[in-house]
Amino acid sequence: MSITTHRPLGRLVTALAFAISALVPAAAEDWKNPVLDKYPTAAVNTTGLKVFDDKVIVGQLHSATGTMAISETGSIEAERLAIKQINDAGGILGRKIEYIFEDGASDWPTFAEKAKKLLINDKVGTVFGCWTSASRKAVLPIFEKENGMLYYPTFYEGLEQSKNVIYTGQEATQQILFGLDWVSKEKSAKTYFLVGSDYIWPRTSMKIARIHIEKHLKDSKVVGEEYKPLGDTDFKSLINKIKLAKPDVIFTAIVGGSNVSWYKQLKAAGITGASLEKNKQAMLTLSTSEDEIYGIGGENCEGFYASFKYFQSLTNENNIAFVKAFNELYYDKYKGKAVMGDVTQAAYLGPWLWKATVEKAGSFDIDKIAANSEGIEFKGAPEGYVKIHANHHLWSKARIGKMRLDGQFDIVAESPELIEPNPFPEGYK
């Protein structure tokens, strides 16, 4: 279309097309806001966001193309499911949610540009989006400058806190410390070999892990720490090193395509869940969820452990309903066999937490949402129950799962209480 717009006629056609496309959804829906008298638009929206009498526009900013599409597709779908469920239940303050989707295309400057578009041109009420830390870092200054709100779903390295972000995944300490404590106690582990992909999240995570092992676990030490470039597919030399070091625990944060090579080559080198068990060893990972096992194949993963807050095999009512609803909405695509990992669940929390916050604040204004987020609960969370902390991260439980042949997890441990988020852990820097 951009080619034709230099001609007046083309411009007219374009304008008409936009006008019509803007009219169609409004005309098609007969939704009347039942609580409009109580929450008139002028009162709930004082900063010029796209909030109308009958609807509110939000943004969704993820990679639907490029490398990260593998991971972010689940988040996109989970957020849409939550939005649909909220709409079916009457919307937010009587307003139905409509979303504008922008594709970050796995490219961080594109994320920044699209964030600007959503906040400045579209004036969206809030944004659900990003996956990698790199994309979050790229959009953060824009959200802070334009005063937008971002619900960010991924477990990440911590060391960040913003008025304009709600982190619905776990920060580093919530995932790492519980996992290490468990393996130290359960497997009487004393020696640890740390392996990660070479970028900020694994390096920060391993730094925290090393400090915890050396200072807080009794008589324990790190016998090796290795990083491999992103996307590397050759782990044979590294595996030989691990064989020589004979650690009680192999602690890993390997991401993306490398994951598959790592597990296949472990198996080819004779290291399996069963062989480790026999030698009183274990492998604990921070990064292999159901999503990844789908590509790796359960036969290569069986018997290894992972530390997450959510597993698809959780049997609480919320999760059963969530998995069922997800499979129903996307039946054509997954034929009832959808695979959901930790981040997919965390993405699902975003719209619900936003709804609860807006209703508590009685307003869509960003400042009021930021101020009212503390203490917001979501009892319908598939992971159980979550609550927003004053630092905009979630109180949530930590769990350990053991990988099964069918690509799901047996949950072998669960923190008894919700774990307090602590993005700036003292003594772990």
């Binding site: 193309t65 490029g66 490398t67 599409a69 593998i70 597709t73 070479d198 290795e226 990083y227 491999k228 470039p229 996307g231 590397d232 597919t233 050759d234 044979k236 030399s237 590294l238 595996i239 030989n240 090193k241 064989k243 020589l244 395509g257 994951n259 598959v260 090579s261 296949k264 080559q265 198996k267 080819a268 080198a269 004779g270 999503d291 990844e292 789908y294 590509g295 790796i296 194949g297 036969e299």
Partner: protein
């Protein structure tokens, strides 16, 4: 000499291990280097023909590997459905043939529709094939989904061969080595011992003269390019035994592939073999004694250094300028 030095070094580093354990690990480490060598050589073979012989900078080479990999996944799905259970284990050789066929046909079409118009403009070829690689990646994503998948491996390809306790030789590594040896021998025979290879080399050396003596240079170009792509397809099929299949999987290999071919000296099969061996061994030895990231840095630095001294690569073709 180096071997003794290595053992001495290993002795210093791992003094608290029994000789037996050390021997096992060193054997496994030696095999790790060899199997990395076979990965490098296998992926470089196709490019050695396309870039080395024809001079086409094919940035989409990695995507032809991906085509082969997806063909393998497809064959495994079909085999699971239609082959009797007892025969399923043997679908893999068939998958390799299918991978070659599919990649060959796509390569043939690519040459016909795109490459042949660009022989005189190497830089435009670079851009065009890069564009092609993006188009192919997005096509894979739309067709097969963005998630990583794997072909179901037959049992005989998984696990390890254990000649004794503590010594595990990966079977997929042995398989890769076998495929690489067979493919290298075939390429060598075709390029240097057959009439067809003679025609290819004649066309590359002097297109006009080759045409004048009655060689169909256009047909030769097309078949050569398609063959290079077909070999990439076989590499893709073989790589499903060690890695994953995703729309962008080919991109992971493309840099190393060019590195091996350029370092070896474009146009020389022996050079490609030497360079694959050198890079693979250096990388796996450094990685074992130091670290993976350091291995990449040191290897790339020395490759740059050597190329500065010998821009034509390890083994240069003798051409009268």
């Amino acid at each position: 000499m180096t071997k003794i030095a290595l053992i001495a070094l290993a002795g210093l580093c791992f003094a608290d291990y029994t000789m037996d354990e050390l021997k096992s690990v060193l054997i496994m480490q030696g095999f790790a280097g060899i199997s990395q060598f076979s990965v490098f050589l296998l992926m470089a073979l196709g490019l050695a023909i396309i870039f080395g012989q024809m001079g086409v900078i094919n940035m989409a080479h990695g995507e032809f590997m991906t085509i082969g990999a997806y063909a393998t996944v497809g064959t495994s799905i079909l085999a699971e459905k239609f082959l009797p259970a007892g025969l399923f284990g043997w679908y893999f050789p068939l998958a390799v043939v299918v991978a070659f066929g599919v990649a060959y046909v796509v390569g043939w079409l690519t040459e016909y529709l795109m490459i042949r118009h660009l022989y005189q403009r190497p830089l435009d070829t670079l851009l065009a094939t890069w564009g092609l690689s993006m188009i192919l990646q997005e096509t894979f994503r739309q067709t097969f989904g963005a998630r990583e998948t794997s072909a179901t491996m037959p049992d005989w390809l998984m696990g390890s061969w254990q000649p004794k306790e503590g010594l595990d030789i990966p079977i997929n590594g042995l398989f890769l080595l076998g495929v690489t040896i067979v493919m290298t021998a075939l390429v060598y025979l075709m390029m240097y011992k057959s009439r067809w290879g003679l025609r290819v080399r004649a066309t590359v050396l002097n297109r006009n003269m080759a045409g004048a003596v009655g060689i169909n240079t256009k047909g030769t170009d097309r078949a050569t390019f398609a063959l290079g792509c077909g070999i990439a397809g076989i590499a893709g099929a073989a790589f499903t035994t060690i890695g994953s299949v995703s729309p962008t999987a080919g991109g992971l290999y493309i840099v190393d592939t060019f590195l091996v071919v350029v370092f070896g000296g474009a146009g020389s099969l022996v050079g490609t073999m030497l360079s694959a061996f050198g890079i693979a061994q250096a990388q796996s030895i450094i990685e074992f004694f130091l670290s993976g990231v350091l291995a990449k840095v040191l290897v790339l630095t020395s490759v740059i250094f050597i190329l500065m001294i010998r821009p034509q690569g390890l083994i240069a073709q003798k051409i009268r300028k």
